[in-house]
């Protein structure tokens, strides 16, 4: 017998791992991937909670829109990282802060 809470706990653990990665990494792509891990955890929580609600289809639509926007965000961020790497030859955010301006 499965309960919704087990999905929510899984999503919380995935979200927490994403937060840990986002704080500790200094590579721009690693930070983006950690943010994507957080997004995956949040998406699982959204669908689990919408499954427990009276109208689960609305949660599904929110998830569809969120997945599409995440794909757009990945496109923008990776293109920016490529552009920054071409100009500065690094995607280390600490180094980029030093070379700003």
């Amino acid at each position: 017998m499965l309960v919704i809470y087990s999905f929510l706990i899984t999503s919380a653990v995935i979200f927490g791992i994403g937060i840990y990665g986002f704080i500790t990494r200094r590579n721009m792509l690693k930070m983006l991937m950690s943010a994507e891990v957080m997004f995956n955890g949040a998406l699982l929580a959204l669908l689990a909670l919408s499954r427990a609600s009276m109208v689960p289809a609305k949660g599904g639509i929110l998830a569809l829109i969120a997945i599409s926007l995440a794909a757009s965000e990945i496109g923008v961020m990776v293109s920016l990282a490529i552009l920054i790497f071409r100009i500065k030859r690094t995607i280390d955010v600490y180094e980029l802060r030093r070379h700003r301006g």
């Binding site: 499965l2 995956n40 998830a63 995607i91």
Partner: protein, 167 residues
């Protein structure tokens, strides 16, 4: 067999794999293997969506998120020079913050401990299904998302193309 229903086994397998792959995304030294782990995390998450009854969202997750977005990261990661890992002084603080967030979310959602998952699939094209609700009530966000995806495609091509050498 009744003591170990198939749903519980599938859930345990995919939730453990999702957690392991998210750890690999964060901890692996290579960008390429991190991106590959992100793809497997997306697939594990899609299996959990299907288990929740959202079959079409699972298909969408695999085709759009894993198939397009994560593969974009994977192939872009090969363009970058690998940065050697450095000691991060905030590791202990980050672990503390992550544990605090997990505990807070677990406490907030504690009332859902009683809600049992019934084996129902969310319909796609029936009354109250995903497609009808999307077209009838959420057509404008759907349009905006479609435009955002097209704009991203154009922006990605513009930024990533090779610069022409002017002689």
């Amino acid at each position: 067999m009744s003591q170990f229903p198939i749903e519980l086994i599938v859930f345990s397998a995919f939730s453990i794999s999702a957690i392991v792959f998210s750890l690999l995304v964060v901890e692996h030294k290579s960008l390429v293997y991190s991106a590959l782990s992100l793809a497997f995390l997306g697939i594990s998450n899609a299996a959990l969506f299907a288990l929740l009854g959202f079959d079409y969202i699972a298909l969408f997750q695999i085709s759009v998120y894993v198939g397009a977005a994560v593969m974009f990261i994977l192939f872009s990661a090969t363009l970058f020079r690998e940065i050697p890992p450095t000691e991060v002084p905030m590791r202990a603080a980050a672990i503390g913050i992550a544990i605090l967030v997990i505990a807070a979310i677990a406490a907030i959602f504690l009332p859902y401990n009683e809600v049992v998952l019934s084996p129902v699939s969310i319909p796609w094209d029936k009354e109250g299904g995903l497609a009808r609700t999307l077209v009838q009530s959420y057509w404008f966000p759907f349009l905006v998302v479609a435009l955002a995806l097209i704009t991203t495609l154009i922006e990605g091509i513009t930024l990533a193309r090779r610069e022409e050498v002017v002689e």
